[in-house]
Structure formats: structure tokens, C-alpha cells
Amino acid sequence: MQHDWIDKLSAYLDGEMDSQERIEVEAALESDPALVEILEQMSRVEASLRPAYAATFHEAPPSRLTDLVLVPSESERTASAWLRRWLAAPALAAAGIALTAGFGIGTGVATMTADSGLYSIAANGQLVPNKALMSTLASAPSGEIRRIEGVPVVVHLSLSNADGYCRQVQTGSLTALWCKSEGDDWRVMVAATALDAPTNDSSYSMAGDGTPDAIIDAIKGMDGVTLLDRSGEELAIESGWIE
């Protein structure tokens, strides 16, 4: 009898019953204190399961795992396929595309709710990174995952251009191109959802290789783009992103 009830209470605890079954279980619970005791014991055990592994979840993963998934091959580090193709086409690069500087409140803030703790919005509509994100922008090598306020953050690439430096950074579901000129702070040039790009808005659709079109267009619009390899990125970090 007890096994049958443990089956039912287990499903009840998981919310895996239809309304009729739930009513039957709740009626039984009202009339049988022993069942209530079993359910309470079950709930206590249940409540201890996730905390039992919380430390593993929250601590930084060992490098043998992060290296495996986050360090791209050298060819990918040097340039993603689309960018290498584009850099090899001087005429297209010279033509350029006007860069949409800044990040208007109406263009993508709605995509940022999950990551909103990482930014604030200045009076001029610019996104301002919090201290931890600012530090990550300044010091994190590409491919190294960091967690800020529970949000995984990873830099995908770094580049220099005629005005300074830019870094493509994914924060949770948002990928953004942050740029910095000498004497200025990092600011978002363009952003788009990284994993769940809306399909009904071409400006935020994903390009063939997964890089959002908006970011590709922004980079195409820059003058003097040079992708930084590992050593170039290390030098830029050491110099504080000052040319």
C-alpha cells in the first residue's frame, strides 16, 4: 500500500498529475496524517538535492573542461570564416557601410532582461557596463568564460581599427560589440540576441556562421580592421587597450 502511495506522492510532488488525480491525493492527505508525514519527509529530501550539488554548479569549472569547449582552434581565433572572406575583399572593405553608433533604447534593450544586472542605461541611451563587466572587457582573453552575477560571459573576438579596439562579447543570450577609443570607456556599438535571434527582424537575424548580421555589418563599416590573435590580444590587455 505504501509503495503505491509513494508513487502517487512522488508524482504529486513533481506536479505530474492531472487534476482528478491531484484531487484524489489531496483528499487522502486530508484524512491520513501518515501520508502527510511521508510527503513532508519526501519534500525535505527533495529540498536537499539541489543544494547538495550547488558548490559544483557555482565554482569555476576546471581548465581541462573550459579549454576543451571555449578555446577555439587557431584558425577560428585568427578570424571566423565570414570575416576572413571579407578581409580578403579590399573593394568591399573600402566601400564600407555606415556604422550605427550607440545603442538606442528601442533597438534591443528588450532582449536584455536576463542580463540587465550587467548594465545600466545612461541618460543618452548608452549602455554602461557594471564594474565586473568592465573588468572582463579589459582583461578577459577570448574564449575564457566568466560568470558575472550568475550570467556566463565570454569574449568571442577582439579587433583593432582606426579608432581603437572592439571586442565581441556574449553575456547570456546577448552578443554585443563593445568598442573603446583612447581616453574613452567601453561602449556598445551594436548588440543582438546570440542564441534566440528573432526570425521576423532581419536586422537581428543570424548570419550563416551564427554571428548576428548587425555585428557583421558594424565591423564591415569600420576602417582599418585587424583581428587580434592571441599574442596581439595579450599585448592589448597589457597596454590597457591603448594603441
Binding site: 547538495a52 554548479f57 557555482h58 569547449v69 577560428e76 570564416a81 542564441l195
Partner: protein, 173 residues
């Protein structure tokens, strides 16, 4: 999906993979070994992943099959010894003050490690990873009724384990 994006997405779910690995194997080190094996397989067989489906489910399944294969080939599984030393010396924690709470968590992990593999996997995906029975059934490719039975059996065994401990404690005190 381009390779760098695939890897980035794997990186984003890495904490959950490690948590599942720990729950599945009973130790963090062994769990990381399992995650590493599963990631190598996933990267090697990336083309088999269907974009638009859940990447975490795909990797969880790889981890589950890898673990089952490992257990079958090993034939024996060393009994998990509670790591009391680690419990005392967790970095940044006052060992004396937090000891009872951490012992309780260690007991939970020990009890989990004693469950049959199929029950522990079903319970970990349901109670720790927050999957519905249907999602667990799809991930493990078994009927939903089987998942319901495994979760229930896991809970019954955990209850028996904890009630035994309570009786022993009562005698001791």
C-alpha cells in the same frame, strides 16, 4: 552551427553538466572526468546534433550512456567513501559553524550515490535539473511511465536511507 558557437553553447551549460556529472558519479572529480569524455564525444559528433533541439538534453544523454558503458566495462564500482576531510576544509567556510549543514549535504550526496544508476539519473534530471518526466523520457529514450517509476523508487530508497540514519542517531544519543 559553426564550431565556435557550438563550443560557446557548451561552455554556457558547463556548470549544469558538471552538477549532473557529480550527481551521477558521486564525486566531483569523477563527474568532471565524465563531462570531459562526453564533451570530447560531442565535439567529435557535432554534426549529429540537431539545431533547434536542446543541447543540454543531448549532452546529458551522452553522459548517461558513457557512464553506463563505463560501469558495464568496469564490472565493479568502488563504494563511495564520504569525503569528510573535504567537508571540513571547504575553502572560505567556517568548518565548525557550518559543519552540521555540510554533513547533511554530504549525507544527501552519499544517499544519492547508493541509488541504482537508472534511478539516480532519473531523479537528478527531474529534481536537480528541473526536467519534466516527459523531457527526461525523451532525453533517455524510455517510456514516461518508466521515468515515473524510477523517480518514485529513488525517492522511496532515499526515504528508507534517511529513516535508517535517524533511528541510528536516536540510539546513539
Amino acid at each position: 552551427m559553426p564550431a565556435h558557437q557550438f563550443r560557446s553553447q557548451l561552455g554556457l551549460i558547463l556548470p549544469r553538466l558538471r552538477r549532473f556529472g557529480h550527481a551521477l558519479t558521486g564525486s566531483e572529480e569523477e563527474g568532471d572526468d565524465l563531462v570531459q569524455d562526453a564533451l570530447v564525444k560531442a565535439l567529435k559528433n557535432e554534426s549529429q546534433f540537431t539545431p533547434g533541439t536542446r543541447l543540454d538534453s543531448w549532452i546529458f544523454r551522452i553522459m548517461q550512456t558513457t557512464w553506463i558503458d563505463k560501469m558495464r566495462s568496469a564490472k565493479v564500482r568502488a563504494a563511495h567513501v564520504p569525503d569528510l576531510e573535504a567537508t571540513y576544509t571547504a575553502a572560505g567556510v567556517d568548518g565548525r559553524r557550518d559543519f552540521p549543514a555540510r554533513i547533511a549535504l554530504q549525507q544527501t550526496r552519499d544517499a544519492m550515490s547508493r541509488l541504482p544508476d537508472d534511478c539516480r539519473i532519473a531523479l537528478a534530471l527531474t529534481s536537480i535539473e528541473g526536467y519534466s518526466y516527459k523531457e527526461v523520457a525523451e532525453t533517455l529514450n524510455v517510456p514516461i511511465g518508466t521515468i515515473m517509476s524510477r523517480v518514485s523508487r529513488a525517492r522511496r530508497l532515499l526515504l528508507e536511507n534517511f529513516s535508517t540514519k535517524e533511528v541510528r542517531t536516536g540510539h546513539a544519543t
